[in-house]
């Protein structure tokens, strides 16, 4: 399972979760808790499109609870 940049709706960025079978079953906003968990776990090896969002300040990796 990996996340990537999905689409923009009414100015809000949505990210896609691509499952191991290649299917996209989840779209989420930046603060979706499982997405943030994944970002924290993979912060040193993010896909290029996600890393670009982080570098541009469009996506923030939040501290854990």
């Amino acid at each position: 399972m990996i996340y990537g940049v999905g689409y923009t709706h009414s100015g809000v960025d949505f990210y896609k979760r691509v499952d191991d079978d290649g299917k996209t079953r989840v779209f989420c906003v930046a603060k979706h808790p499982p997405f943030q968990d994944w970002l924290r776990s993979n912060k040193d090896n993010l896909p290029n499109d996600i890393q670009a969002k982080v570098d541009d300040g469009m996506l923030t990796i939040e501290d854990a609870d």
């Binding site: 399972m1 999905g6 689409y7 709706h9 009414s10 809000v12 949505f14 499952d19 079978d21 299917k23 996209t24 079953r25 989840v26 779209f27 989420c28 906003v29 603060k31 979706h32 808790p33 499982p34 997405f35 968990d37 994944w38 776990s41 609870d65």
Partner: protein, 377 residues
């Protein structure tokens, strides 16, 4: 129990207002609702989250070799209960790295916990009760995890191969008030497997303590659910109530529980009278251009907050747009304009000669098709 003791117990129950009104702070404690489905396999490689039974979340820490499945299962040997949450170990892991953990989390909003008077001199005791049955005796840990103040209180319990009602009364905590909002304040957590990051400290039963600098006291002395593929756990009848007495489980109707669960997760179609059939219309809207149908979904309950995620089956042809005839999707549906009461769904379906402005239905074309929104804590 003597008559005097029974009267004393009843007096405390009355004093704590445990009779009358809603006692149980847990939603879906009897595992009646499973909007996501009744079984989920191959879990453990990444954070599983919510898998089957609503409101019951599975969490893992560092990557473990252990794998498991979850299910909503029928109960036939515990009078008064028809369903349970079932965990089955499918791949064992006996080499436990420090950061490994497997736990069940039940998360509660702060605004629903103000009656605990936490962080005041009048802080109330809290009693957590539940029925559990395992394939062998395990010692596990039940924890109240105050996420607002990074404070925890833990109590061990030991399971048996028969259904046993475990009753754990937690001390009131005079430190750390809970935020009066719709965010996570307390998690009721069951530790089922953990490495030294969670077990290396000292166990202090029923004592509130800070986890500001360490988590190593949270699962001290527990067994491991991953020590054999023979292992399985069934749990149901989870109740959390104010006071030091465990009153009988507060049963609620399926309709009540479903509505309460839909504050956090809503899936359609689900629990339709005849099951989920093909060619079922699930929303109305209009064509926004000649290929894109735009549809408004009104949620049946006000959700906790604007959803943070939208789910669908992952197959475009499971969905169609209908004006006067059906045209299957050419890409999976997307959703946006998330509000706590509604969201828009767009589906692209080309080649049907639609005209912008046409009224349209959004339909599901396969029994696996669904749309869902999550506002879980």
């Amino acid at each position: 129990m003597t008559k005097a003791a029974e009267l004393a117990k009843m007096g405390e129950v009355l004093t704590n207002s445990q009779i009358g009104g809603r006692r149980n702070m847990i939603i879906n404690g009897a595992c009646q609702v499973a909007q996501r489905g009744t079984s989920s396999t191959g879990l453990g490689g990444s954070a599983p989250g919510y898998t089957t039974v609503d409101r019951w979340q599975m969490s893992v820490g560092a990557t473990s070799a252990g794998r498991f499945s979850t299910a909503q299962v029928a109960v036939t040997d515990l009078p008064g209960f028809a369903n349970a949450f079932h965990l089955d170990c499918t791949t064992a892991d006996t080499s436990i790295a420090a950061g490994e953990v497997l736990k069940i989390d039940y998360k509660i909003e702060g605004q629903d916990l103000q009656q605990l008077k936490k962080g005041t001199s009048d802080a109330e005791k809290v009693t957590v009760s539940f029925y559990m049955k395992t394939n062998k005796a395990f010692t596990f840990m039940c924890e109240l995890d105050d996420r607002d103040n990074n404070r925890v209180n833990t109590q061990q319990f030991t399971t048996t191969t028969s259904w046993t009602r475990h009753v754990l009364t937690f001390a009131g905590d005079t430190t750390g008030t809970l935020n009066d909002d719709n965010a996570l304040s307390i998690a009721v957590t069951f530790f089922l497997h953990a490495g030294s990051d969670f077990t290396g400290g000292t166990y202090s039963a029923n004592t509130w303590q800070s986890r500001q600098s360490s988590d190593n006291m949270r699962a001290v002395g527990i067994g491991s659910f991953f020590d054999s593929t023979d292992n399985d756990i069934k749990i149901t009848g989870l109740q959390m109530e104010v006071g030091s007495q465990a009153t009988p489980f507060e049963h609620r109707s399926f309709g009540e529980e479903l509505a309460l669960c839909q504050r956090y997760y809503y899936r359609t179609p689900r629990y339709i009278n005849s099951g989920i059939g093909a060619n079922e219309s699930i929303a109305t809207g209009n064509m926004d251009g000649s290929t894109v149908g735009a549809f408004l979904i009104r949620f049946p309950q006000l959700m906790r907050d604007a959803p943070t995620a939208f789910e669908q089956s992952g197959t475009a042809s499971h969905y169609s747009v209908r004006v006067t005839s059906d045209a299957n999707g050419t890409s999976v549906p997307t959703s946006g304009d998330f509000m706590s009461d509604s969201a828009f769904v767009n589906l692209t379906a080309s080649g049907a000669g639609f005209t912008s402005g046409d009224g349209a239905f959004l339909r599901v074309e396969n029994t696996s098709a669904f749309l869902a929104w999550s506002a879980e804590l």
